[in-house]
């Protein structure tokens, strides 16, 4: 009934009521005009902001927003003994949290279904993109290396969670400052207190200065929602709930494909859809890189 009488109903009904009762028709009428309910064109992502150093107790942190989706990422470094198999490599542990604050779908006491999946995908992407050379995290070969705990908290889940989480992770790592440590007489790693002018401290620091982690190629991602022949970049949670097909493209700054993830959804017949999504992701990569570089240079000025 909605299909036949829908166009008439839409003129009789209030817009909000129509949106709630016939969400698919509401969106499809927008798509016909090549515009989305929030005023964006189909291929455009939402406004993105990055604030570095949001958590002072962490070694590196970032607060990112893509539209309303908000992620807080923090990296903490701890000294660990490297494994036998890789004596001169550090380690990265990624965790993604979705507290009940972020979305009505998450109930207190019951962990979200999506969170472990996003965490696994994030850790796969970060490790396989070669962004961080794990050898850079080594302190004393075979004896000590950095263990980087990356924790990402989703504060507001309004679609494209993976994109926002990856961006906050990349931003937190680019803000990371490695603390200065030295080797004590007992062979243990101790922190060199900050503001200590070399003379008082007799031990030579293991890592000479407060170092920045060298990041090679940065991965950036774009999620697209597919509906019929339309490709919607950076969908909101409302759009995600209506259009069941999602495709996430992760590209690194050299243009290589790090991940192309399409879990289920409808079957699309043309491989050109993939190429269109990759092209959108390329465009998005340039935008996000610019925003990140701006955030970093703002940080350096302060």
């Amino acid at each position: 009934m909605a299909v036949t009488g829908g166009s008439d109903l839409s003129s009789e009904m209030e817009v909000d009521a129509f949106r709630r009762l016939f969400p698919l028709r509401f969106h499809e009428r927008h798509l016909l005009e090549s515009i989305r309910p929030d005023g964006r064109s189909l291929g455009k992502a939402r406004d993105t902001t990055i604030a570095l150093g949001a958590v002072t107790s962490a070694n590196g942190s970032a607060l990112t927003k893509i539209g309303c989706t908000t992620m807080l990422a923090a990296v903490k470094l701890e000294v660990m003994t490297p494994t036998q198999e890789s004596p001169d490599e550090g380690c990265i542990a990624v965790d993604f949290h979705m507290p009940p604050i972020c979305s009505p779908a998450v109930r207190p006491g019951r962990p979200s279904e999506v969170a472990p999946v996003v965490a696994k995908q994030l850790s796969d992407v970060i490790l396989s993109s070669g962004m961080i050379n794990l050898k850079d995290l080594s302190l004393v070969s075979g004896k000590a290396a950095w263990m980087a705990y990356l924790d990402i908290y989703c504060l507001d889940a309004d679609g494209s969670l993976f994109d926002a989480a990856l961006l906050s992770a990349v931003a937190a790592f680019s803000h990371l400052q490695i603390p200065v440590v030295s080797l004590s007489d007992e062979g243990r790693i101790v922190l060199v207190p900050e503001g200590n002018g070399g003379g008082k401290f007799e031990k030579e620091p293991v890592n000479k200065e407060k170092r920045k982690l060298k990041l090679c190629t940065l991965p950036f991602s774009l999620t697209c929602a597919l509906h019929k022949n339309y490709i919607l970049a950076d969908p909101t949670s409302e759009e995600e709930s209506i259009m069941e097909t999602q495709l996430t493209v992760v590209l690194d700054s050299s243009g290589l494909l790090v991940s192309l993830n399409k879990p289920g959804g409808s079957v699309f017949a043309h491989t050109s859809v993939i190429q269109d999504c990759v092209a959108l992701a390329r465009q998005r990569l340039k935008e996000v890189k610019l925003i990140l570089n701006e955030a970093i240079s703002d940080m350096d000025v302060d």
Binding site: V117, K120, D124, G130, L257, G265, I274
Partner: protein, 244 residues
């Protein structure tokens, strides 16, 4: 002309396949799927009344439980559950049994590479065995990309770890339509050219990815024929499930 792989196969050769249906007595449908040394057992229970919370009661709900060979269910298993669930959702006719839940339990018996595709194939066979209404079957394959840019199909664990990247792809199988020739063409290009699921690991160029898709698609023809044959052979003698 081409160098052989570690186990003597050439690049496009799959490992020996085996599929047995109805191996579990209590489940509504079950299947084991073997690709070389990788073996997965799938059982289907349902449709049971009611859906889980946060699911649409106007459609059937699919629940996937992934049991690893040893140890507890962790993040990798959760990811597999999610991918499998979304994949099966897209091949099942969810509107036939609204407000029901169908559980698919996957037990990994042996993992020697290409585990997720193997599990998808097993789940698909088990769903057919349970008589759950499906739009079409799905066939899954793993393509591996070597440093030199060669595509190897259906890798074992050793190859999977040593390669620069791999891609899991799920395609719809070629439909044998009962409709007269040409009528199925109305909806645009044939459905079997599409991709249901794609998961990649490791860095590769976009062209390499598309090459994997092409080679994977060609190989699923064989898989598709095998799946259809193994589903057909058991039908004549399969009276036990007919009434239930």
């Amino acid at each position: 002309m081409e160098e052989k792989r570690g186990d003597g196969r050439n690049a496009n050769q799959l490992r020996p396949l085996a599929c047995t249906r109805g191996i579990l007595n209590r489940s509504h449908g079950s299947a084991s799927w073997i690709q070389g040394e990788t073996k997965v057992l799938a059982a289907v229970y349902g449709p049971k009344a009611g859906t889980k919370k946060n699911e649409n009661p106007e459609k059937a709900c699919i629940e996937v439980i992934w049991k690893p060979k040893t140890g507890q269910t962790g993040k990798p298993e959760r990811e597999c559950e999610m991918i499998l669930k979304k994949t099966l959702q897209s091949i099942c006719l969810l509107t036939v049994h609204p407000n029901t839940t169908t559980s698919i339990i996957i037990q990994v018996v042996q993992d020697d590479g290409a585990l997720l595709p193997c599990a998808i194939n097993a789940a698909c066979a088990a769903l057919v065995d349970a008589g759950i209404p499906l739009k079409h079957l799905a066939v899954a394959i793993c393509c591996c990309l070597s440093e030199s840019g060669r595509v190897l199909l259906d890798p074992n664990k050793l190859e999977e770890q040593s390669m620069k990247g791999f891609v899991y792809l799920v395609f719809p199988n070629s439909v044998l339509s009962a409709l007269p020739e040409g009528s199925s063409q109305l909806g645009g290009p044939p459905v079997q050219h599409g991709i249901i699921t794609s998961v990649t690991h490791g860095r590769m160029s976009v062209d390499d990815y598309l090459l994997c898709v092409e080679r994977g698609r060609a190989a699923t023809e064989k898989l598709s024929v095998f799946l259809r044959r193994s589903l057909q052979t058991q039908i004549p003698g399969d009276n036990s499930k007919a009434g239930s």
